[in-house]
């Protein structure tokens, strides 16, 4: 078994295959010319799903059942006329639970969620998110209103979470019929009321698969953890992180107390904090953080986007806007495994066998 990384770039999808954690083989670009905001393998049946956007041809989803050799495009994805909104981009695809074989979720801009019940052929908007009573208090920032995180509680088919930039974190306890804003104690330093109910800017939201009441959040204004399904949040970036700002977030599937972030100089800048590209790790649920920079460049002003990191039980992976793909080898050394790719927008990993 080896690792297959699906690396979405501004110019298409690349497949990177590793036989060990230092030697990778590159295939691509597939879906040439499309901006691949997110690409993922559905572990239920091996289908590749890609959220692809094009400056001229708009937002799409593509899928492949033969490892990327051939592709099918979903039927046109759009928003109902009465909403007054147009779909600007597809952002994130989340396959459904094992007991929901044809179901997938899709997050998009402007702050919208879709569901497919036919394996990605067609997508229906979630009206409760589209018509959310707080929507008039969501303020699109420079990145738009992006529904980028969709997390499913593996124990409860009714419970799920979404993270939407400039809106916040929302939880549904009834299969998506209603959504509760879950932003208590999250700071929105750019808001007139920093502790408003909505208007917050999560950059990435992850549920811990082995401890599903625990959520982690890299926000525009800090790193947070929740131990009560998002009912309240604890800010964690005071101890050892150079900044609370950043986009990617990684977890250790075997340890709910571990998390990894890549701090950036905040707000208007969006590049490595202190001119030094580093991943920061906590092993004590955010009490303390330590730098993991072994193998990373001494000086760098890199940007790692919200979808551009991934993790599995053995390693961590991320890609930069400069087109470098890094994998963690032997648990403590980063290896720049592939370089000179187009700007990397997304990374997901799965296992593969030759």
């Amino acid at each position: 078994m080896g690792v297959l990384a699906l690396v979405g770039t501004r110019k298409g999808l690349f497949l990177l295959r590793a036989r060990d954690d230092r030697r990778w083989r590159t295939e691509g670009p597939l879906l040439e010319g499309w901006g691949v905001y997110h690409a993922i393998v559905d572990e239920r049946d091996g289908t590749f799903y890609v959220a692809a956007n094009h400056t001229t041809y708009g937002p799409t989803v593509h899928r492949s059942t033969d490892g990327g050799k051939t592709w099918r495009r979903s039927r046109q994805i759009g928003l109902p006329e009465e909403s007054g909104l147009i779909l600007n981009a597809t952002w994130h695809i989340e396959p459904g639970r094992p007991e929901e074989p044809q179901r997938l979720y899709l997050g998009g801009d402007p702050g919208v969620l879709f569901r497919s019940d036919d394996g990605g052929e067609s997508w229906e908007p979630n009206l409760a998110i589209l018509q959310h009573p707080t929507r008039d208090r969501w303020f699109p920032g420079a990145g738009g209103l992006t529904c980028h995180s969709i997390q499913l509680d593996p124990r409860d088919v009714e419970r799920m979470y979404v993270g939407i930039t400039s809106a916040g974190t929302f939880r549904s306890d009834d299969g998506g019929e209603t959504w509760l804003p879950r932003n208590k104690n999250v700071a929105g330093d750019f808001l007139p009321d920093p502790h408003a109910e909505v208007g917050h800017c999560p950059h990435k939201l992850l549920l811990h698969p082995a401890s599903p009441d625990r959520l982690w959040q890299q926000n525009h204004c800090g790193v947070y953890r929740s131990d009560d399904r998002g009912d309240s949040w604890l800010r964690l970036d005071g101890n050892g992180l150079p900044t609370g700002f950043g986009f990617p977030l990684m977890l250790d599937p075997n340890d709910p107390d571990s998390a990894f972030v890549i701090p950036e100089k905040g707000m208007e800048y969006h590049y490595s904090a202190e001119g030094r590209l580093a991943v920061y790790r906590t092993r004590d649920a955010g009490e303390t953080w330590e730098s993991m920079s072994n193998g990373l460049p001494q000086q760098a002003w890199a940007a790692v986007l919200r979808e551009a990191s991934a993790f599995d039980a053995d390693s961590l992976y991320f890609g930069t806007q400069g087109g470098s793909f890094f994998a963690l080898a032997d648990g403590d050394t980063w290896v720049e495994s592939v370089r000179y790719l187009p700007p990397i927008l997304s990374v997901e990993v799965t296992s593969w066998s030759a």
């Binding site: 040439e32 001229t56 041809y57 495009r73 759009g78």
Partner: protein, 85 residues
């Protein structure tokens, strides 16, 4: 019968075909008949912003828009605007 020509990214989405011979009364009808029409129009049926459409070399914006009758026309060419990096 009019010949519709599309750029390479669209051809890739149409099983490699860049040319289509179509019976249509208007430019809109011809574009709607393409297997990639969802990539040309948004969900409101509006032509995407960064597309140009030429009928025998004339921009449809200068000749009545997409409702323009095709009578006598030979070629409809879809061209992505020069943009981006």
């Amino acid at each position: 019968m009019v010949r519709v020509v599309v750029p390479s990214v669209l051809a890739t989405q149409a099983e490699g075909r860049a040319r289509f011979d179509i019976e249509a009364e208007t430019v809109m009808d011809a574009l709607r008949a393409l297997p990639v029409s969802d990539l040309l129009f948004n969900e409101r049926g509006e032509l995407r912003q960064h597309l140009n459409v030429y009928v025998d070399g004339t921009d449809v914006r200068d000749s009545g828009g997409l409702a323009c009758p095709l009578a006598g026309a030979h070629e409809v060419r879809v061209v992505a605007m020069v943009s981006g990096g």
